[in-house]
Amino acid sequence: MDNVNLTTILSTYFSGAYLIHFFNKAFSITSTMVFLVYVIVIHKQIEEVTKTIANKKQSILVFISFTQIFVVLCLVLFALFYL
């Protein structure tokens, strides 16, 4: 118990390995969230343009863009809780 003091705690949390892990996680969460916003924008744009030009096959495109949002959301959760 003598070893448990502020210096050891700080040295554990601010060690090279912990910092690298911390930055990896922070970078992953930020980048996936930015990407999530981007795919949502794409989905909204596709929905908007399909109103301008209507075609039978366009529902597939809307579905794929929606699936992409779901996949990126899974990546955000992966980065948040599993990484």
Partner: protein, 184 residues
């Protein structure tokens, strides 16, 4: 070229009488031709995506040395999603950048996924000149080029880039102009 029968060429990049409707279409208005860029223009973005994929495979040998399993798994998933999105972005841009020629007007839909959406309408009776331009090795080989539609006065000129059979498209539009002038 017969414009009364429905036909689709080059992966739906040159469609005659397609089953397509647009927002401001009139009741007696029907679509005669719809064109988008030649599918060969998608080749370079797809090759780029393929190069990214090869690069990812090679980078994995480097990741093994420095990262743990979870991090490698995340990087691979995220990179694959990015590569797919790159394909998707180019495909969507190609698919929604269309030119529609109806019996009454020409509609130019310029769509960029994240930046802007521009739809311009040109009345056929206002068209002054139609020019088809084609040049370069690939354009000659695969028969695609640009179509410029000039209108009178201060109205915006319309252009369709890299469309297949630009001379055929110009011919169809010229026929429509003639019809409009003869029927008033």
């Amino acid at each position: 070229m017969d414009t009364t029968k429905s036909s689709h060429k080059f992966f739906h990049s040159f469609c005659i009488r397609p089953n397509t409707r647009f927002q401001s279409q009139g009741e007696n208005e029907f679509v005669i031709v719809m064109f988008r860029a030649h599918p060969i223009t998608l080749l370079f973005p797809f090759l780029n995506g393929f190069v990214f994929f090869i690069f990812l495979l090679l980078a994995n040998f480097y990741f093994i040395l420095y990262l743990n399993k979870k991090e490698i798994l995340f990087i691979n998933f995220f990179s694959l999603v990015l590569i797919f999105n790159y394909f998707w972005y180019n495909l969507i841009n190609w698919f929604f950048n269309v030119g529609i020629v109806t019996n009454d007007q020409i509609v130019d839909v310029d769509f960029n996924v994240t930046l802007y959406k521009e739809v311009s309408y040109t009345q056929i009776s206002h068209i002054e000149d139609v020019t088809a331009k084609s040049g370069g090795y690939f354009a000659t080989l695969f028969d695609f080029g640009n179509l410029f539609i000039q209108t009178a006065g201060t109205e915006i000129n319309t252009e369709f880039l890299n469309i297949p059979h630009p001379s055929e498209a110009a011919k169809i539009i010229n026929q429509l102009i003639e019809k409009t002038h003869t029927h008033g």
